[in-house]
Every structure is written in C-alpha cells, then in structure tokens.
C-alpha cells in the first residue's frame, strides 16, 4: 500500500516546494499567483493520493473544497493585480508596500 502512495507524495512535495520557493523569490504578481496555484494543487494531489490509499472519499472532498477556494481566490486576486497594474504600471508584488502607509 505504502509503496503505491509514496511517489505521489514525493511529487506533491516537489511541486509544493517549487511553489513555495516561487512565492518567496519571484516578484511578478502573476508568477507568484501561479506558484500559489502550484502549492494548492500539490496539496490536492497529496489529498487525492491519500484518499485513494485509504479507500475513502474524505481527501477528494477536501480537494474539491480547495479547488473552489482556489477559483474564488483567483477571481479576487486577479482583480487586485489588475487594479494595481493600472495605477502603477507594474505587476511587482513589492509595489503595494506603499499601502503600509
């Protein structure tokens, strides 16, 4: 059993790490966004893999929730990015730092 799930988990970890590193090091808001999606889907992959391994649907249900949340997040997030891009002519995530003041 363990052997069938391990590769998925490893893949999931790799994807998550790539996503996390991307969020931390990239400045383009679109790329950061994509990296966030990557992390969410890495989690989805792990959830579905465990769901299959455990033989119940809990994981898959959770994955659906994640997808719904991700879709909603994309809607809001892209709208924000668009607005910032319009005012600042830049999609850098460092730009909204000005909001602190």
């Amino acid at each position: 059993m363990m052997d069938t799930v391990t590769p998925y988990v490893v893949l999931s970890s790799i994807l998550f790490t790539i996503g996390a590193v991307g969020v931390l090091v990239r400045r383009n808001a679109i790329v950061v966004f994509m990296c966030v999606e990557l992390m969410l889907n890495a989690a989805n992959l792990a959830l579905v893999a465990f769901s299959k391994a455990n033989g119940n649907l809990d994981g898959q249900v959770a994955a659906f929730f994640v997808m719904v949340v991700a879709a909603a997040e994309v809607v809001v997030g892209l709208a924000i990015i668009m607005t910032i891009f319009r005012t600042r002519e830049s999609a850098s995530v460092d730009e909204p730092r000005q909001l602190k003041w």
Partner: protein, 629 residues
Amino acid sequence: MVSPVEATGVFHLLWVVVALPLTGATVLLIGRPLAPAAFDRFGHWLAVGLSSLSFVLSLVLFVVDLGRDEGQRQVVQHVYQWFQTGHLDVGMDLLYDPLSALFLLLITGVGSLIHLYSVGYMAHDPRRTRFFAYLNLFVAAMLMLVLAENYLGLFLGWEGVGLASYLLIGFWQARPSAAAAAKKAFVMNRVGDMGISMAIALAFVTFGSTSFTVISHAAGQASDGRMTALGLLLLLGACGKSAQVPLQAWLLDAMEGPTPVSALIHAATMVTAGVYLIVRSGFVFDLSDAARTAVVVVAVVTLLWGAFIGCVKDDIKKVLAGSTMSQIGYMMLGAGLGPAGYAFAIFHLLTHGFFKANMFLGAGSVMHGMDDDVNMKHYGALARFMPVTFLTFAMGYLAIIGFPGFSGFWSKDKIIEAAWDYHWYVGVLALIGAGITAFYMTRLMLLTFFGQRRWDVDGSRPPDWHPHESPRIMTGPLVVLAALSILGGLLLLGSWISDWLAPVVGEPEHHEGAPPAWLMSVFAVIVVAVGVATAWAYVGRRPVAPGLTRFLPVPHVEDVVVPPGLQLTRGLLTTDKFAVDGLLSGGPVALAAVAGEFRKAQNGYVRSYALSVLGGTVVVALALLVVNW
C-alpha cells in the same frame, strides 16, 4: 490617681465654662460680616463679657469645690458621646479636679484681664472684632484642654490652642515676618503633636482607653518599656507646645503677634500646657524613671538656654520670650521631679502666669508709648514718664528674679529646693539659672526705665517729645496683675497648694538629710544678688552701646535642622523620580522599545510575510511531529 465622682449641683454647669467663650468666638466671627458697624462698636465687649462670665463661673465652681471633702473634689461630667468606633469609645467628658480648678482660674482670670487690656491696645486696629474672636477661641480651646477627661479631648484643646496661636501670631498677616512666624510656630508644634498623637495611640493599644481615670488605674499593669515610650512621646508633645529644647525656636518668632497675645498665649497659659500635660500624666511618669530623667534633662537645658537667650536680645519682647522659656524650664524641672515637684511646678506656673502676663502687658504699654518700637536700646529713662507701667513692671521684675517676699521667690525657691533634693548638680544648675535670670531682667529694667534717654533714634522726634502713659483700660489690668505678682506667694501659706493638689498628684515627700529650706533660700538670694550686681556693673554704669548686642554666635536650631531636612527632601524627590517612577514607567518604556524592534518586521513586502507564514507552518509541523513521535 484620677477617681472622679459624678457631677452634681452646680457642676452640671461645667460645660458652660467652655461653651461661653466658644459662643463668643462663633458669634463674633459670623456676626461681624453681617453687621459690621454694630460689632465694631460692641463686639469686643461681648468677648470681654463672656470671658469674664466664664471666670465668675470658674470662681463659683472653685468655691464649691473648696467646700467639699477631699475625696469628692474630682468631678466628672459626661456631656455627650463624642464618637464610638470599634473598641474606641470616646465621650465628651469633662474632668474638674483641683488641678483643672487652678488652671480654670488662671486661664479665665488672666484671660479676662488681657481681654480688657486688648480693648485699649487694639483700639485703632480695623480688625479688632476678629482679634477678639480669636482670643475667645483660644480661651475656649485652652479650657477644653485642661477640662478634658481623656487624652483625645485634651488633644482637641491642644490643637485648638495651636490653631488660635497660629491665627494670632499671624494676626498682622500683611507683615511677611508675622506670616512666617505663624507658619514656623505651626510647623514646629506639629512635631510635638506627632508625639502626642502617637502617645494617644500607644495608650489606646496598651489600655484600650484614652480616659485618665482608666489609664491611671491600669498604669501599673503595663510593661516598663511601654510606660517609658509613652512618657517620652508625651514629653515630645510637651516640648513642642511649651517651647522646650529642641523645639523652642518658634517662641521667639511668635513675638510677632500683638503683645496681648504674647502675654496670654505665649507666656501665661498656652505654653504652660506642656507642664500641665506632664503633671496630668503623672501616673505615667511615676512608673518610668527614664522618662522622668528625660524631663529633668530637657528642663535644665531649657532653663539655662532660655536664660542665655534673654541675656543677648535687644528686643524687649524677645527677652521676655527667652525668659518664658527659661521659667517654663523651671516648671518642667518641677514636673520632672515627680510627686516632690508637681505641686510646685503648678505653683510656679500660676505665679509665672501672673508676673509674666504683667510684664508682657507692661512691655506692650511701653511699646504703645514708644510708637511700637521694641528695641530696648531706643528706650531709657521711661520711669518718669510712664509711672504706672514702671511700678507694675517693677513688681513683675521683683517677682521673677525671686526678690524675697514676692511670688516668684516662693515658687522658684521651692523648685530649686526640690531639685537639690533630687540631685545636687541639678540644684546647682537651677541656682545658676536663677542668677542669670536676675542678670537679664535687671538689664531689661535698666535699659528700659533708667539711664539716658535714647528716644531720638534717627532724629525724627522733636526735642520736647516724650512718651505718654497708657490709658486706664490698659493700666488697670496691669495693676491687678502686679498685685497678684506680689501676693501670689500666699498660695503657699500653710503649704495650701500642696494639700490642695494632693488628691491629683500625690503628697510631696521630703528627703531626710537635705539642706534646710532656709539655707537654700539664702543661697538663692545671694545668687540673685550677684546677678543683679553684675547687670548693674555691665549695663547700668556704662553708656549703652548702639547697634545689636552680639555674644557668642550660636547657631539657631532651624539652621541646624533645616538644611539637612532640605537635603533629605531633595534626596527623597530624586529617589521618587528615578527609582519609583523608573520602576513604574520603566516597564512600558522598555515594552515600547522592544515593540519598536518587532515593528521593523512589518516591512510591507509580501514575500517576507509569506516567509513568516511558511516558517510558522514549518515550526507547527515540526512541533506536531515531535509531539506525535
């Protein structure tokens, strides 16, 4: 021992003695603003009348008491319950016994005479009504002090006379010196009052009551240490009110007040309250030799110190003030000698009340004639122009130096004799004090009434100017007081005063082997004669040097006490500012500093927030792993 019987008959009126002058004070203070014209014309007569009525009543009580058996002479009247809290149950009880009887007569008698004198002395003062209101207030408070049956009632009177003294010293409040003197007297008295209030607390803790009756019966059961502490605290209080070393400095400045005030409060009555306190608390001092010795030491130091002050002042009132300190020192000495001296302390207190009030009023009369100049070096040769003042003053003078036959001779002699019985060197010091007294009083007499005319101080007086005798209303009281100064010694006739006071203070015991009384009197007279002769040689035969008399620059008490006190206060302030405030406000300041550091993490970069979130997640994950291992 205080074992009073319930008040009957005329003693039901005991409270009226206090109430009369109190009413006077209230009516005058409230009525003056309502009807200024009427009170300015008649207000002072109301005060004189009420004070005299109080005297008449005291006299009636005294005569009735005189007719009673010895065991019936202590009378207590419960007026009302003052307050009750926890175990402390204090009644407004008045105690009339031979001791307070004498005080009542002194306070109301001399007080009324001084009221009468003030009518003349303060005639031109626009605030005369207020002055008389304060005088009445003083009389009421002093009567409360000597009539109270418990320490709290006594304390009420004690603070009352302190207040009246403050108000009257500073009566001419527009003068900065008078305002400062009043404040000084008040503050220094506060030190003594601290002693009294702690003594009252200690008495209550020890005996569960503040009543003289209860404490005097239970005194034997308390430990020696307690009694000594009680005695020393009471002595501290007595030192404050009676201007004894080390709390004596206020009395000289108190002379800023109007002269009748100096006579009534700062010579005849209030300053003797300390002696009253010690004699009244005899049951405490009887049980503690240490406390009694402390009283004797304070008394001897003060009687010499006061006499020394009397020698070096040029201000006539300050000489008399120094003399007052010195004479109260004699009374304290008597009180410190125990049953052997209590009665004589009170005897000297009475005669001193007569002759010192006489001399102060005489000094006031001189000042009245000399346009309020107080410097004796500006007087001289006044005997011819103020004959009544001179003659009455001379009676007081002869009394205070102890000229044979005059009242002071009998009273001071008895104290010196008792002091000699106590220990020979106390006796010698008391004798030396008597010699110095003779010196400075003779100096005062010579400078004021004899010698050259030195009136023309700055050339402003015309050559034919001369002082006038004071009006009758002022010389009348002088004559009465002069008569009392001469005849006061009659109280000793057949040792009446000792027998009269015996129920309160016990019988004076007489030591065997002591030098006979007549020998002591001879010694005293010789010492006094030496003092007078020295003064004659030093002052009488030489021209008076202008300028201030200087002699051994001795630091004032306030110069010794105040700078360290200021330093202490500054130190406390610094401690408060840096240690206490630092502790309290330092915490928040440190917190703000730390928060300032943390604030830098909020840099606005999404990436750094993301890193924190990730870091946190990793930490949580690791923690879960560790916990679930």
